[in-house]
């Protein structure tokens, strides 16, 4: 039985579809397999966003702690999703908290390592930015729809 290497895992993930083998190998050099038990906190608002993750299994909640209201979940991410974009936007700090709702298996990519590779390989950088712009646009669109409170009481 062949154990999948990190390049294979990246290549199978929807986010990395279209990257050729050399690019996947380049990024796999920054990658590691990680897993979190349910309840583990993966990121805390304001801390250094020194990684980003691709989710292979499980559910991650994006949360905002609000005084007197507790932790408000604004979105959940699942298998096939990317968490998150803070590593690519200066000052590279998590914008939100994140928590594993279930056992979560992810591939992490070291942000500093990947940013250096993007600086020296602009084609890689362009294609990663292109994908992250899509992720950010999807989340802005979703957030705006949530703000509309479409299913709320008729005004």
């Amino acid at each position: 039985m062949k154990v999948k290497d990190l390049r294979d895992l990246l290549g199978e993930h929807a986010f990395f579809q279209g990257f050729d083998r050399p690019a996947l190998e380049l990024m796999a050099g920054c990658a590691a397999n990680e897993h979190f038990e349910a309840g583990a906190l993966d990121a805390r608002e304001g801390d250094a966003a020194d990684k980003f993750y691709i989710i292979r299994h499980g559910q991650v909640s994006i949360e905002i702690p609000v005084p007197a209201r507790g932790r408000l979940i604004v979105q959940t991410l699942h298998e096939g999703d990317v968490f998150d974009w803070s590593w690519i936007v200066p000052p590279y700090r998590w914008a939100f908290d994140a928590r594993a709702d279930t056992l979560v298996r992810m591939v992490s990519l070291d942000a500093r390592c990947l940013r250096q590779k993007m600086d020296s390989n602009h084609e890689l950088g362009y294609h990663l930015f292109e994908r992250f712009v899509h992720v950010m646009a999807s989340r802005i669109k979703a957030a705006r729809l949530q703000l509309l409170d479409l299913y709320g009481p008729a005004s």
Partner: protein
């Protein structure tokens, strides 16, 4: 067209502002209908409104409507007690394209109370499950407390041949499910884009973005159907209240194939 008298025989409170009324005719035949059609419900002395039929088309003896109390008539109907009489005209309008969907994957996308007009189609599809490919029910609600037909969603999810995904806009307290918008569920796919028929019902803004998400997944406009809501009065295409360009929503809709209305659906003056 005079309304026929029906008696309320059962009232089920679904949510704080939403009830399901089961009606039976006082005399005459039961009301056969096609999934997606609506009736005009008359609260005597108050007024008449269009309400989609939410029951099982295989059992027309019971006429079922799920109603959210938002105006004078709908609030009177949601306050109904067993034994109350209501007037019924119909059924009216076009239906979900279930014959056309035979042999295809079926993607049912609902938001909020939009699950009610889709429920007859879900009943019909699940009763004839072998005629369809993958069946996906994608439902978005405001909060976990606003999930309509919760037990049925759980039962449908419990089948081994149907995919059911529920997502809520916002959450407080314990909720282990997904948070986000229903378009997130479409983006996950799980159906054959070339052989899927999508049926969408919910607030119009939600439906527009659901269509976008389906387009991004490669589903063509002529395989997407949605149910529109407009102010209706006569329900037979005479009064013009529900006119949408060259269509009357009561007569030509409420279910429209998207490619037939995509040029006018985004014109906000219409």
């Amino acid at each position: 067209m005079l309304p026929r008298p029906f008696r309320v025989i059962r009232v089920k409170r679904e949510l704080s502002d939403t009830v399901t009324l089961t009606l039976e005719p006082v005399n005459g035949e039961p009301l056969a209908f096609r999934p997606g059609q609506f009736t005009m419900l008359y609260a005597f002395g108050i007024g008449e409104i269009p309400i989609s039929i939410s029951g099982d088309p295989a059992d027309p003896r019971q006429l079922v409507h799920t109603i959210r109390g938002v105006g004078a008539v709908s609030q009177a109907l949601t306050a109904a007690k067993p034994g109350m009489m209501v007037g019924v005209r119909g059924p009216f309008g076009s239906a979900w394209p279930l014959e056309e969907a035979t042999g295809s994957d079926v993607v049912l996308v609902a938001g909020g109370i939009g699950l009610a007009p889709l429920r007859p189609a879900i009943h019909r599809v699940l009763a004839n499950r072998r005629q369809f490919g993958t069946v996906a029910i994608l439902y978005g609600a405001r909060t976990p407390e606003d999930i309509l037909f919760r037990r049925e969603l759980q039962a449908w999810r419990g089948r081994f041949d149907t995919s059911v995904h529920v997502i809520v806009d916002r959450v407080s307290g314990s909720w282990g499910g997904a948070v986000g918008v229903v378009t997130d569920l479409i983006a996950k796919g799980g159906f054959d884009r070339h052989h899927a028929v999508a049926m969408i019902c919910g607030p119009e803004v939600m439906m527009r973005y659901a269509v976008q998400a389906l387009h991004e997944r490669g589903v063509a406009s002529d395989r997407i159907h949605l149910s529109l809501e407009r102010n209706m009065k006569c329900a037979i295409g005479l009064c013009g209240h529900c006119q949408l360009a060259g269509n009357f929503v009561c007569r030509d809709g409420p279910v429209f194939r998207y490619d037939r209305i995509e040029d006018i659906i985004n014109v906000w003056e219409l």
